[in-house]
Symmetry: D2
Subunit: 487 residues, 4 copies
Amino acid sequence: MRPFLSHPFDDDKLKEECGVFGVIGVADAANFVALGLHALQHRGQEAAGIVSHHPEHGFNSARRFGYVRDNFTNQKVMDTLPGELAIGHVRYSTAGSKGATAIRDVQPFFGEFSMGGAAIAHNGNLTNAAQLRKELIERGSIFQSSSDSECIIHLMARSIQRTVPERMKDALRRVEGAFSVIAMTRTKLIGVRDPLGVRPLVLGRVGEGYALSSETCGLDIIGADFVREVEPGEMVVIEDGEITSSRPFAPATSRFCIFEHVYFSRPDSILGGRSVYETRRQIGVELAREAPVEADLVCPVPDSGTPAAIGYSQESGIPYAMGIIRNQYMGRTFIEPTEQIRNMGVRLKLNVNRGLIKGKRIILVDDSVVRGTTSRKIKDMILDAGAAEVHFRIASPPTAWPCFYGVDTPERSKLLAANMSEEEMRDWIGVDSLRFISLDGLYRAAGEPEGRDPRRPQYCDACFSGEYPVAPSDKLAEGFEMKEAAE
Amino acid sequence: MRPFLSHPFDDDKLKEECGVFGVIGVADAANFVALGLHALQHRGQEAAGIVSHHPEHGFNSARRFGYVRDNFTNQKVMDTLPGELAIGHVRYSTAGSKGATAIRDVQPFFGEFSMGGAAIAHNGNLTNAAQLRKELIERGSIFQSSSDSECIIHLMARSIQRTVPERMKDALRRVEGAFSVIAMTRTKLIGVRDPLGVRPLVLGRVGEGYALSSETCGLDIIGADFVREVEPGEMVVIEDGEITSSRPFAPATSRFCIFEHVYFSRPDSILGGRSVYETRRQIGVELAREAPVEADLVCPVPDSGTPAAIGYSQESGIPYAMGIIRNQYMGRTFIEPTEQIRNMGVRLKLNVNRGLIKGKRIILVDDSVVRGTTSRKIKDMILDAGAAEVHFRIASPPTAWPCFYGVDTPERSKLLAANMSEEEMRDWIGVDSLRFISLDGLYRAAGEPEGRDPRRPQYCDACFSGEYPVAPSDKLAEGFEMKEAAE
Amino acid sequence: MRPFLSHPFDDDKLKEECGVFGVIGVADAANFVALGLHALQHRGQEAAGIVSHHPEHGFNSARRFGYVRDNFTNQKVMDTLPGELAIGHVRYSTAGSKGATAIRDVQPFFGEFSMGGAAIAHNGNLTNAAQLRKELIERGSIFQSSSDSECIIHLMARSIQRTVPERMKDALRRVEGAFSVIAMTRTKLIGVRDPLGVRPLVLGRVGEGYALSSETCGLDIIGADFVREVEPGEMVVIEDGEITSSRPFAPATSRFCIFEHVYFSRPDSILGGRSVYETRRQIGVELAREAPVEADLVCPVPDSGTPAAIGYSQESGIPYAMGIIRNQYMGRTFIEPTEQIRNMGVRLKLNVNRGLIKGKRIILVDDSVVRGTTSRKIKDMILDAGAAEVHFRIASPPTAWPCFYGVDTPERSKLLAANMSEEEMRDWIGVDSLRFISLDGLYRAAGEPEGRDPRRPQYCDACFSGEYPVAPSDKLAEGFEMKEAAE
Amino acid sequence: MRPFLSHPFDDDKLKEECGVFGVIGVADAANFVALGLHALQHRGQEAAGIVSHHPEHGFNSARRFGYVRDNFTNQKVMDTLPGELAIGHVRYSTAGSKGATAIRDVQPFFGEFSMGGAAIAHNGNLTNAAQLRKELIERGSIFQSSSDSECIIHLMARSIQRTVPERMKDALRRVEGAFSVIAMTRTKLIGVRDPLGVRPLVLGRVGEGYALSSETCGLDIIGADFVREVEPGEMVVIEDGEITSSRPFAPATSRFCIFEHVYFSRPDSILGGRSVYETRRQIGVELAREAPVEADLVCPVPDSGTPAAIGYSQESGIPYAMGIIRNQYMGRTFIEPTEQIRNMGVRLKLNVNRGLIKGKRIILVDDSVVRGTTSRKIKDMILDAGAAEVHFRIASPPTAWPCFYGVDTPERSKLLAANMSEEEMRDWIGVDSLRFISLDGLYRAAGEPEGRDPRRPQYCDACFSGEYPVAPSDKLAEGFEMKEAAE
């Protein structure tokens, strides 16, 4: 049964909502999927699910709240998931207003079609799901979850195509938004990315079989060799050791999510041929050039600010130091905590290294500022410990717009940068200086030496720029106001 | 109920066995103890216990397997622990051969005496517990646990003194070994350290009350101000806001455990007036001087090698980089894992940052080598990722002797350094070079500019030197052979 | 999470598969439903579910494995089910061959339609569910459960009617078999019985509101007054305190299940105006007339044989006695029991009253013989205790045919009476005499003084007679052979 | 972990506090103990414990809250209890005022002595436990539980005898009160009854081994043959297939608890050579003679009133009927129930058979009246169902005094019969007549044709007569006032 989750501690981060993993052609495929999902756990910590298929035992499924390692390592559970073909999904819990997740919201979703069953796992977000859902219900479909992803399986069920891949094409041509989808039938493993390739999806080879994973770190853990990325707009179908590729969508220019480089993906993953760690370190280098300051120590806000802090230190020559220590036994789930625990907030997770900080001028490097509440608390802790000065350096531009492509963002009104100038933010947080990397600086660090091409941006950066590559139809219908074109 | 724990992954570290925390004079004292134990979780992850006292509700106790945050944050549990006085304990699970821990082995231990009850929590290990236990059983004491610490409470029960502090003195004069003990009666909080002060214990002030903690990081989390260390051989009794100090034991020279600096304590703690982080960074500096090597990157084995790697990089000028990434969702408890999971070992926890490592000459900095098995696996991972050379630098001297003072060490025969020379170890691990810091270098980093004084060593370094400051009587009776004096 | 159920003990009974309960117009309706389901627990012990509706909080649902009292009495769970309108369902676990029940098989089923949501709970079994399911899948419906009842909600989703009651009529006109269905929308409570009225359904008044229940004992527990039965082929819709009745089906003669009188229903329920207890006692009276024997004691096989044993004793004048004692702490769920426990079988549940039995001629009255295995074990126990003679008297005719209308029956080949004559059964069980009540005797006890009308039987007695009032289409398609008409 | 029990339903019964079981000389002895305890579950439902010994694996123990069948049937648990020698205990939860039971209060208790370990399980209650405990604590014993039984093991630990049986004798000669104790060492199974033999204890033979059980029903379930009762004041020691009997105490006249016949023991047990069922039926016969009344039906209050109701019916000629039906899915544990559930009280458990009762004059036979609250509620239910008259007949004399010998009784002030005359009780309950069996009638039914011998009563009947065969020292010290001798 689901624990009554509470999140008393303001994580104050954008949150990737999902990770997907699939494997075909290896014994005990579900075990590999469990390992892959464990490596992708940073993409979703609330729940996980695995579906497997075995010629004799058919499709089997297990879906659980909690970490992968707490639910999918046990022999007894894994014995219920036999076969050489399996897919899985990790899911992030979206915030309160959307209502609590039920176990039936946990993917993969399974549908029995007239030609056999199929399961799908979706990373991303459909921007026209509300309209599709309404239409499907009117025609007699019964939805089991509150997930936008369920539209895909109902659209597939209603397609008159005779194979699952063709039904998927039918379905995915009807949806808008961002999607990296992994699907399976009794014999096929299928991977698709939306035309813009907003979310990542990579292909690997493991023994005689193949694996699909949101990130390369999922391939590493099972010892799979990286083959290539599934390309934006591509569908791959793997069956009997053969890969078939097709392009079901109209051609489009890729717009990969730049925030995957900044924060979402693991530093040991390789995205678009670039080491995520190296991109983040380079952000620090750019930041040191754009926003230098005299100080004694460069300290990361752990753990996500670490690579940029290293880069800043290397470029500036100011020594790098662990000024804030993270409690490694901190989890996210607190069941009905006491008032006092609730009020501890960030101190449960972080402690200042007092012996180091006292009397020093500190540069703190963090990955982003969302609501800004954590930044204030960290500043308080650092000053309490006796720092002489505190300078914040942020490894991303101001986050001023919500994401509608599979990331949990606060409403625009709660984004600090949507409401304040950089100076106002500095004053509100209460630090000696606050500087964000420029959008061009970020693009340079991400491998675009000329910076951002304003006419045809190389990445999706809607959260910084407000320029949405896919119109968020459902949100517009709800009244969301996009940036004016003239701006 | 206790999960059937299994530890399929060779942690290959020495393990501190306990942490203790107590507080008096604050509302909801048990909440503070829970927070303090959460900060001390690195000293023991298997189980935790808290005892509180309330004038109306008397003594109450809760003992649980698992992390503090999973058991002692819940309102319902904490409501059962009312009062302004409480103590707690975290405990490490010792390995299989000693048999499984039962909940009755989890401290604090409580005894009802004729003048009232008392509870104790012990960090350390008694070296004459077996003899004491035998003697106590012969006289009619009934032991409830297999813990050496239980002897203390039985000795107290049999003392003819009329107060708990006096009974504690009686009891502690009979025991040998290492002990930092926190105790409580209905009105008193008591702290004692053994004459050599092998394990840490610090005193802090919180509001109108006082706290005792194994390390200063426990004070930080509750916002307590550090007052001073409880001194070796000292007993402090806190009652009604007054602290009384006494010295129950014969005077002796302090021998604080140097491994607390190397690995056990948290880097944000301050021990003996020294920042643990700074000592570790300085170890890296010394190591760079003692054992330089040409290379492209200095990488820590996370997380414990990090400060020394930073120091090594700073002294050598070779860039610091995160060559190995730690999965932050890795816990220790796997319940009946599948064979495949069991075999994954270190890969569940660590992944190489392949994009960074390929073709590079890597210096890996780790805190210690115990069995050496993890070092081998890490070397394999690094070479698989395409490193050109691998050089291990170890932030402690070779660990060649077991500890009998509250640390879980393998038998001597399983310690790599007890059986091989440094060169043999290098070959067995299979790296291009392997160097340990010298004992003198370690002492210098730990604040002794002249290095180790061989006649009166400033620290306990038995695990490196084989020189045991307290004779391990029980172990000698079992046949353990000490290093010959002539050596 | 679901316990791994095992049923090591041959219950050797036909099992009612479901009970349904609903209430409208009372505060905290779900609490009443929980109580009603507790009273109906004998109709299904594996799982239970409740759906409620509240104007502000919408539809809410909770479904759990285990007893009602273990899951639906807790304040926290019940707080999640607010509103003045709620329905519920208890479910029996069908045996292994059909595969384990998943939580998604637990009713009520909920569907979101274009005009709003509806939930349904079904007692009975659809005999054409397989064909309907195939057809629905071909048209794009996605089934979430393996339950035949789910067809109803999909048929409703596809109906083009504009109200839920009209959609239910559309749907129920397409299904065949036995059904007593309770449904709810945001404002209506609906009850329907199939044209033959095979399963019971009664209407009660509670305060200003109304209740629907499988049996009158469900009304008693909440203090509701019995109003009347929902009639065979009738639909009642209750909204705003008004009851609307309609007759959606072609008229038919009622064929109520006679086994509800024999065993399924609770003895304190009133079915068709008759006290179940009294009918059962009267069966004993008839049996004493049809099959007298000289003996010392009449003993029931507890608890279901008790009323008939009382009747037998009263008619025969042979003293009634509790010769077999039931262990009241016996439950059904054993999780992975040891071999020895598994082999104990009936002895875990029943013990012979040795002090009473020794040397006596015993008449044992049981409700039915299914596989006969329990009868043999009971006979062994009675003889071990020293009985001089054992005479079995069975309160139902030989069970020779499976039921397809909502009862879990073994395959025909496993029914003792399908394979043996009464004498063969007597020899196989090993008793001095074995007699079943005649079908006419049973009808007389059930209020038909002339016995069974062979041309238009007043009850459904297919399990005894093989005459199925509704053709079991799916089963016939699978190859089930019905009794030949000539017989 | 222990559920937070609540008992919202006034059980309104005296409660036996314990049952004990032991076996030696059979493979997997703990399995037999689990079965025996399951049969003795009526003697204690809160918790159970088993200790076993195996030559290789030593002593092992498991103690759990909840029913035996929920905790001690599982293969995994039973695998932890290997060996051919085991003992066990079931325990009743005493009411709130005494504080919640902790798992450490659950027996068997184990002690490690200098000559080896021993475990004990105790049924009964020591009347001088408080004094003994005080004395033991003063001498340095540390108590782990709040149980009076723990005194025995501490007294044994301090004995200077060299064998466990001799130490038990030393210990048991110091205690006062009622005790049937089963103990075990590595090789011996030991049984002892106090000199008055207040609580039962029987010896059986199973295969090549022996069993000890509180009641004969415990022997029946494992297929053991009844050998004889352990006699009042006797100790039996079983080792290597040999039984040694001794008499450690001063001779005394037996005073077996007569309430074991009335209510505590199972009806299929044989106590003192008498069938419990038969005694209870005979009580009904006596009651019909002592307190006849014209009526239509004799109905038991299920289940404990059943045998007496049968006897009453047989003697009076008034038909016996099941006028009240018990819900067999009713358990005792409700975790934080809703207000509404809490208020349901007896209706969750019992329902009136309305079809039977209406317009009838009903004789209700119950085993006892304690607080009287349940009697009132049952009367209400019966009248609500339309009964014309209600006559209560009680199968025991008025319960006017608390029991101090191992039974949970309310304080004297809460016993209805301690505060009212029979007529006052009738009025307070609100029935047409209320009659209790006389003390002499009860003795006659229990095999004493001359009734009670007032000078040397054959049974302990303190709860009826106020004549305590052992002075309740601790209670007298607390201020309990015994009946004056003159009375």
